[in-house]
């Protein structure tokens, strides 16, 4: 071999070794990176000592700002990060109000409520809870310029006054008995941070609640860690909470069965037995105020006649729907207000199932068997909604009422029924409504100044009762008024009153969690044994 070629061979060998070295290093690097990627998460988790709760949620958390949240689950999560002035307490089985950041409240006159604010509570960013913070939190909801979603709770507030560091006065345009209850849905937020970030509060939060935000990916996941300066007892008992979106019913149940999560909400009815029979799992359930109903436009032909509307109530076997479609996880409705809501009328009986009575009423009204109703029924929005709607259509057919059944997507249904109002292509629709107070449901659904567009229900006596109830600050008198209002509404039958659905969660047996009748998700007392 010549020198030249020997040199060439030597350089070629060196080059190959270089290439080989680079290749080996790259492989090793990739291997290390891959290994770290695979084991990284488990290593991080091993470092924390208290157990973390993994929670599979059925709908996405889009924002951390409760003033703009769009679902009750979203609201509920915010209420773990933030505290309210007072909360709805269901320990007695019926809603009462308990103090939280407000230590007490009183009506100083018919249109003013004075709150005393708890001292010594600190937001997670260091700001202090005081009257200014409360004023800020209420202003940014009730003042229309903010466009808050929760503004529907505060239509009567016209001013919030800081009296001193620990006293706030809320002024209403007229006497309002519901406003205190409605305030239980409003969170106290840090004013300086809020003023600085504005809409930026949708991705950042600093509250006074038991768990604060560790990491938030909108519409995907939320990680919470315990707040070491939490002011209440018991102190947070979880090492942290990992909330992930698992929208598909089947996957969410599978995640619980496989142990990937320890708690899920909206457990599908057909999975309840499976979860119950598993030795590691349990079903957690609560009654709620969510009333499933068939809404009817009272300005459409036969529906104008109250006898027809009552007939439609008699035509449906509500108990059978509860038993067979909801497997007993609901209660037949006797009133739009469910028993957990104060002043729900316990003396009213549900319309019994009587096709004979239904036919009799229909022929009395002059419609023995010749009209068709166009029916919009959602699918997958409420527990058992589609099946219930189809059953109702079947019962209507049995008494001679024909039904054009459609299941449009909710956006379309909403735009027809609630948007187009009188021009809606549907005569009846299925929906559900929960009540945040005795006033809110009755007013927003049955008072003629609100429901005109979608129901055209106008009963001056009902309007007068609802208004009187709101203005009556004495509980006993208010009770009589609300009982009468419900009696009247049920007799008017603007709805077919179906049932109140339960809220159903699935959990690992080690999880201590209380399902709430107002469907909010509170982790305050949650623990893992």
């Amino acid at each position: 071999m010549t020198d030249q070629s020997r040199g060439r061979v030597r350089r070629a060998r060196e080059a190959m070794t270089r290439r080989a070295f680079i290749r080996k290093a790259a492989t090793l690097g990739a291997g290390i990176a891959g290994w770290q990627f695979m084991t990284g998460r488990s290593a991080a988790r091993a470092a924390t000592t208290a157990p973390r709760l993994k929670f599979g949620l059925s709908s996405p958390i889009t924002t951390l700002d409760p003033r703009y949240s769009d679902t009750i689950q979203n609201d509920g999560i915010a209420d773990t990060i933030y505290d309210q002035l007072l909360i709805r307490d269901f320990t007695t089985g019926r809603m009462t109000l308990a103090p939280r950041l407000a230590t007490s409240w009183e009506r100083t006159d018919k249109q003013t409520i004075q709150f005393r604010i708890r001292q010594g509570v600190v937001f997670a960013n260091g700001e202090v809870v005081n009257a200014e913070a409360v004023k800020y939190s209420l202003d940014t909801v009730y003042q229309k310029s903010y466009g808050a979603v929760r503004a529907y709770l505060t239509p009567s507030i016209d001013a919030v006054e800081v009296v001193d560091e620990s006293t706030v006065r809320v002024h209403t345009t007229a006497p309002d008995r519901a406003i205190i209850t409605n305030l239980a849905a409003l969170d106290v937020m840090p004013p300086k941070m809020g003023a600085r970030l504005g809409r930026g509060m949708s991705t950042q939060a600093a509250g006074t609640g038991p768990y604060q935000v560790e990491e938030f990916v909108p519409s995907q996941s939320l990680k919470l860690h315990p707040y070491e300066k939490y002011w209440r007892q018991p102190k947070p008992r979880l090492g942290g909470i990992d909330i992930s979106l698992i929208a598909d019913d089947g996957t969410r149940t599978a995640a619980l069965l496989a142990g990937d999560v320890l708690l899920v909400n909206n457990l599908p009815v057909d999975q309840i037995d499976r979860v119950r029979s598993s030795p590691k799992l349990k079903v957690l359930e609560s009654v709620t105020s969510r009333c499933v109903y068939i809404g009817m436009r009272e300005d459409r032909g036969p529906l104008k006649d109250v006898r027809v509307r009552q007939a439609l109530n008699y035509a449906v076997d509500k108990a059978a729907i509860v038993k067979n479609i909801l497997q007993g996880h609901a209660q037949v409705a006797n009133s739009p207000l469910a028993p957990v809501i104060p002043f729900a009328n316990p003396n009213l009986k549900p319309y019994p199932y009587s096709p004979a009575k239904a036919k009799e009423l229909l022929s009395q009204a002059g419609y023995p068997s010749n009209f068709t109703l166009r029916f919009a029924c959602p699918t997958g929005r409420y527990l058992g909604d589609r099946a219930t709607g189809e059953a109702v259509a079947g019962y209507f057919n049995d008494v001679g009422v024909k039904v054009d059944f459609e299941s449009p997507e909710w956006g379309v249904l909403s735009s027809e029924v609630f948007g187009k109002g009188p021009q809606s292509k549907y005569d009846i629709w299925l929906a559900a409504q929960s009540a945040s107070s005795e006033d809110s449901l009755l007013r927003l659904r049955f008072h003629s100044s609100f429901n005109q567009r979608w129901m055209a229900y106008d009963d001056p006596e009902v309007d007068a009762l609802i208004d009187a109830g709101l203005f009556t600050l004495d509980d006993n008198q208010a009770r009589l008024i609300y009982y009468k209002a419900q009696e009247r509404i049920v007799a008017d039958a603007p709805w077919v009153f179906l049932h109140y659905v339960n809220s159903i969660f699935g959990a690992d047996r080690s999880v201590q969690y209380t399902v709430r009748p107002d469907e909010y998700i509170f982790f305050h007392d949650t623990a893992i044994r």
């Binding site: 891959g34 992930s244 996957t251 929906a431």
Partner: protein, 306 residues
Amino acid sequence: MGRILIQRVIDSAVVLWLASIVIFLLLRVLPGDPAQLLLGDIATPQAVAAKRHELGLDRSLPEQYLIFVESALRGDLGQSIRAQVPSVPYVLSRFPATLLLAGSSVGIAVLVGIPIGVLSATHRYSAASTVATGLAILAQSTPNYWLGLVLITVFAVALHWLPTSGYGTVQNLILPSVTLAFFLLGLIVRITRTEVLDVLGQDYVRTARAKGLPGAIVVWRHVLRNALIAVLTVIGLQVGALLGGAVITETVFAWPGLGYLTIQAVYQRDYPVVQTAVLLSVLIFVVINAFMDLLYVVVDPRVRYD
């Protein structure tokens, strides 16, 4: 080459612009009011009207579109109505997950499908070939949703080998990418087989064999490169669709990708998010098409652009 590139960029810009008009109009023609849906059915008509005004939805369509284009040219495609964050970063943040899922699925489908397709063509009269073709048809007919849940039930719930859903580790990736790969796998096997069979019958292949070249080299050098043109086209179209987000698979596996985000935004009529997601999909299709065109030049020396 430079002139081709400039032409491509101009064409892509025109496509994007036309797509923006279409999606803009379609969304606003679709029944459903984002303000109404955000505030809920308990909202008063006044509150809904105020929200519509705040969102700029009470202006005329041409005015709304001009505002949209004006901000778009600055890179701002609006704010998500629900999440109240700028829609471009919001949508883009879901892209890596979609890219990972699409890439893995295509990878599985190609690495498994092409060899099976080739082998089932070169050994066309064997039982294995018939079985492979049958399985490929089965794979194409299997519904995504069902397959995903079956895989979860077997491998996650029963065997505990893999997590049921979620995102972050390699284990999370396996079931969703297998589910998504299934259909494409079947498609690739069948198309590869057909194309290879077609090419095997050509004269130049007989010539190559007659020259005495070993079978494997014949297949590799002469057959595959010709057969792959059709396969590449199919893969390109599928990848474009996958990168727009595989809604069903993402929903079943709680995979935080573009597909699930987009469908939620459609239900909520979150116009800015839908517009951003659709435009991103169009852009991806355009880029992939351009890339595929380049690949043709590599694979088929007869292809020239002038």
